[in-house]
Structures are given as structure tokens and as C-alpha cells.
Amino acid sequence: MNRALIPLLAFIVLVVFLAIGLTKDPRKLPSPFIGKAAPTFNLPLLHQPDKTFSPEYMQGKAWILNVWASWCVSCRAEHQVLNDLVQNNKVNLIGLNYKDEVVDARRWLSQLGDPYQLSISDIEGLTGIDWGVYGVPETFVIDKKGIVRLKHTGPVTRKDIKEKIIPLLKQLEKES
């Protein structure tokens, strides 16, 4: 083999690795919560602040926790997808309103539609920290035993719903 080709080959290998790196989204981090118990909290409901919600109430049901905020631009893009999701499927969708103003959040839901069974307010963002939220919107799927099974960072697309979330929920329904 021609020795002059060695640097060229090394270069090609480097380019291949860099090209693979470019296709990956650095914002998609592996969540340390997968397979672990969902962090607990007790937060007021967005529409009835005198009542509270806690993940324990969902024991025995597979459910989705969607972290959203009215100031979050990509949540707007995601919102219609969620509206369609609850219209076409029987899912338990809970909204975690993250670091938002109650008034803004309520207005947002009344204007764009409310896909959530209920929304809870995390005004301080402390529950967000407990759930490792770093880029709203984020979506978690929790199984009947309260174990986090999937985390999706960034807006959920119709493709994600069809290929990831619905199949997982179907599988979780079958589990005891």
C-alpha cells in the first residue's frame, strides 16, 4: 500500500467520526430517571390552587407528565400535537406548568385548548429540578408502578407520538 495514503485514510476516519457527531443532538441527554421511581411532589392545581396533586394519585395507571410553560415557544408547536393526542387516544395526560405566571398559563390554555386532565403549577421550578428538567417542553411516561419509563426532551412530534409514546403506553397498559 502506498504510504502516502495513510494520512488521507486517517483524515477520512476523522471526517466520518465528525460527521456522525454532527447528526447527533447534544441536547438529548440520557435521563438518569429511566427505570427509577418518579420523584414525588405535592403541588397546587393550576385551575384550583386550593387542591393539590401528587404522582401517587396515579398509582395503577400509566400516565404522561408534560412539562410546559406559556413563555416557551416550542411548547406552542407541541400543543396542537397534544390536543390531537388526547382527542384520538385514551391517555392520562398531566401538565406541569413550569416557572410560569398562573394568569398567563390559564390564558394560554383557554386560547389554545387544554389537553391536560389537570395542570399543576410549579412556580418556583423546584419540582422541575427534582425531575431534572432543563429544556421545556419535556415529556415523561410513567408506568402503573410509578416508574419513569421514557423521557423526551424538546417538543413531541406526531412521529414521536405514533412511534414511541403510543406503543409504550399500550405495552404499559398490559403490565400489571
Partner: protein, 155 residues
Amino acid sequence: MRSLLIALALLLSFSHPLLAGVEVKEFDSPQQEQRYKKLVDELRCLVCQNQNLADSNASLAIDLRNQVYKMINEGQSDKEIMDFMVTRYGDFVLYRPPFKTSTFFLWVGPFIIFIIGFFVLIRFIRQRKNVVSTLTDNDKEKLKQLLDEDKEQTK
């Protein structure tokens, strides 16, 4: 020209990294303050991924700085605070990730590449030596002649 200079000076003063993370925090002891500074320096901001908590102005970074501050005041150890962050955000939150199988190449890779480079260099140097020593007596004679001619000409 002068106004341009002033504008430039202003711009530079605003871009100073010390300006990020400006909330005033009061500590009971200088040791606690040192620990706080060290921790926010070592923890990554997950929103702006190439900044640490100390440098970032993202709202999550502010919350996490407050969290570190709170935990220090509650008397929690550095390890407890690091563990708190890792259980929530994963190893990525650490600027110095722990050594384990998934980070093996991250830690050892540079040394492997260094060793490979070292051996390639040694081989390269040896080959050059061989080139010199393969000159025959005839070649050496010629070389001497050429060098002498060169000297003559430059005189």
C-alpha cells in the same frame, strides 16, 4: 473615533464573565463561600451546555446556584450536593465526569493517542537515521565534493 472607543470599552466591560451570575450571596464563613465558588465552577449549566453554573445567566442556572447555596447553608457536604445534581441531571452535569466504562475512552483516549503518536514518531526518527547510514562511501565522497563546491562559490 473617541465615541467609538468608548462604545468598545463599554461593550468589553459588559462581556466580562464576572458579570454573569451576579446575585449577591452572603455566607457564614469564607470556607463556605470557597465551596460555593468551587461547586458552581464544576457544575455544568444544562441549558447553555458549554458554560458552567457560575458563568450562565440562564434561569435554570440561577435556580441551581440557589439550590447549591441552600444546600451549603443546610450543612450538606460537597459530595451530597454533587450527588443531588447527578441523580437529577446525570453525569453530564459534571465537568469532570467519573471514570467508568461509558467514560473509559473519554479519560484514557488521549493517552492512547499520545502513545500511538509517540511510537509513530520514534519509527519516523529511526527511518531517517537509516537513510543517512545507507550512504555508500561513493555517495559520501560525492556529497563532500558538492559541499566543497558550494563553499567555493559562496566565498
